[in-house]
């Protein structure tokens, strides 16, 4: 018999009498305490909860619909790009209307102007110098949509028979009005990233007979507002195109979208044509939330925009005065006369 066999036999015999205690499992189970979350996990969770709570309170205060006082007062943009009544595109100082630089001299004064979100490119409606003949036999000047660097240089033509550019707040999309020969505007066109190709939502507007104008983006860079007798809004990201448009029932007035410090709120400025002319802020439901200021007389401004913070408003009044307004003012400040349209040059984010 080998040692290995003797070892197997001895160990088997030795251990076969060994049995676990009857209460072995019970004693073992008593040692299993419920697992507790690790202390650092509790600390991290509490920290995140505090941060989330503070953020929620801050967001509520910032977007509170009944707030009359501005929550924040960011520095106003230091430059304005404007189109003069004689067709010049200029950079001016908002403090005194001092002209800093002339960018172009071929603008269609009523064609609108827009600035890219980085403040480097200027979009404007350019008189090409050509003449077109409408089906009525009348002749009209051809208006192109052009882009030019804020440093100057030659303009680049983006579209023919186009006007009223508007850059989405996220900078990805460019909207403008397509205005075929002799018309004031028949369709809104949105161009994608790079602005080199567009998708045309040009058919099926509710009021095809009225000119389409005042195209402007909502702060969410998704909804587009325009005026076609009545203010309309549609979802530019919707596959439905024009079918997604809806009329904003605000009564008698005109809507421009603008920032109010929130990317997802549909706040807008309304100009009521009844006297006195009030500039108010609308909520997402189209109801007025805040009255900003009152314009003398009953005529509407020809353009009205806000800066990125939504606190600094720029408009051209019925007498072609470029005017500005900021929170705390009882009435707007006149900057300079002789303008058809203007827009803030965005202040670069820190």
């Amino acid at each position: 018999v080998t040692v290995e066999a003797r070892l197997r036999d001895a160990t088997a015999t030795y251990t076969e009498r060994i049995e676990p205690s009857i209460d072995g499992w019970q004693r073992l189970a008593e040692r299993f305490e419920p697992r507790r979350p690790r202390p650092w996990l509790i600390t991290a969770g509490a920290f995140l909860l505090v941060i989330a709570s503070v953020a929620a309170v801050y967001a509520f205060m910032r977007d509170g619909s009944d707030s009359r006082a501005p929550i924040a007062s960011p520095r106003a943009p230091s430059r304005i790009v404007a189109v003069t009544n004689d067709g010049r595109v200029v950079v001016i100082d908002p403090a005194d209307g001092h002209e800093i630089r002339q960018l172009a001299v071929d603008a269609q004064p009523q064609g609108g102007v827009a600035v890219s979100v980085d403040g480097r490119m200027i979009y404007y409606a350019r008189l090409s110098g050509a003449v077109c003949n409408a089906f009525t036999g009348d002749s009209f000047s051809v208006t192109d949509l052009a882009v030019i660097s804020v440093r100057g240089g030659a303009p680049k033509i983006l579209a023919t028979y186009a006007r009223s550019p508007s850059v989405s707040p996220d900078g990805r999309l460019l909207a403008y009005v397509r205005a075929p020969c002799g018309t004031a505007g028949t369709a809104a066109v949105v161009r994608g990233p790079g602005h080199d190709k567009g998708s045309d939502w040009g058919t099926g507007w509710p009021s095809p007979g009225d000119p389409l104008d005042r195209v402007s983006w909502a702060p969410d860079s998704r909804h587009l507002a325009f005026d076609q007798g009545y203010p309309y809004v549609f979802d530019a990201s919707s596959k439905a195109g024009p079918a997604s448009s809806r009329r904003v029932d605000i009564g008698d007035g005109t809507v421009w979208f603008g920032y109010r410090g929130s990317r997802d709120q549909f706040l807008a400025f309304r100009f009521a044509s009844s006297e006195p002319a009030n500039i108010v802020v609308l909520g997402p439901d189209g109801l007025p939330r805040q009255q900003l200021f009152t314009l003398p007389g009953s005529s509407s401004p020809s353009s009205l925009v806000s800066d990125r913070s939504g606190l600094h408003i720029l408009f051209v009044d019925a007498e072609s005065w470029l005017s500005r307004w900021r929170p705390g003012q009882t009435k707007p400040t006149k900057v300079a006369p002789g303008f058809a349209g203007a827009v803030w040059v965005p202040t670069p984010r820190p």
Partner: protein, 158 residues
């Protein structure tokens, strides 16, 4: 452990493995009471790491061997002071003479040789499994097994 399924899984593992593990521990520490404590400690360890353990049986066996080694080390310290350790049941004298001699000879082997022989001839593990359990190479397993058998043989001849 999460939920009743994990709990019942652990209980089933205890039912399947407890007897075998206690016997293994008893061969390593020659004390059934200590062996049961070692196995309980091993189950506590596997419970803590339940979500990270792929092969619970292997983890338990390895834990038992390590815990037994730890207990023996503590016992060596305790042996310096009275009262000395007295093995409890099953008493070696309950075995026949030859079996008792084998168990006696086994218990005086060096720790590593004893572990290898118990795992090889009682647990019937392969050399690779023994190597994985003890954290040594298969070459070392062969060496310890060879030396252990030789020492056992020599001890039984005396």
């Amino acid at each position: 452990l999460t939920g009743n399924d994990g709990w019942s899984e652990l209980a089933a593992l205890y039912r399947e493995q407890a007897r075998s593990l206690i016997r293994l521990a008893a061969l390593l520490v020659d004390d059934v009471g200590t062996a049961e404590e070692i196995v309980q400690d091993a189950f506590v360890l596997v419970h803590r790491r339940w979500e990270h353990v792929d092969k619970p049986e292997q983890y338990l066996r390895k834990s038992v061997v390590n815990l037994a080694r730890s207990r023996l080390r503590r016992r060596l310290v305790a042996l310096r002071y009275p009262p000395a350790h007295v093995p409890d049941a099953p008493a070696v004298d309950e075995l026949d003479t030859d079996q008792g001699a084998v168990i006696d000879a086994l218990q005086v082997l060096p720790r590593r040789q004893r572990e290898v022989l118990v795992l090889r001839y009682w647990s019937e593990l392969s050399e690779a499994e023994i190597a994985a359990t003890l954290g040594i190479s298969t070459g070392s397993v062969k060496t310890h097994a060879h030396r252990g058998i030789a020492a056992l043989e020599q001890g039984l001849e005396l």
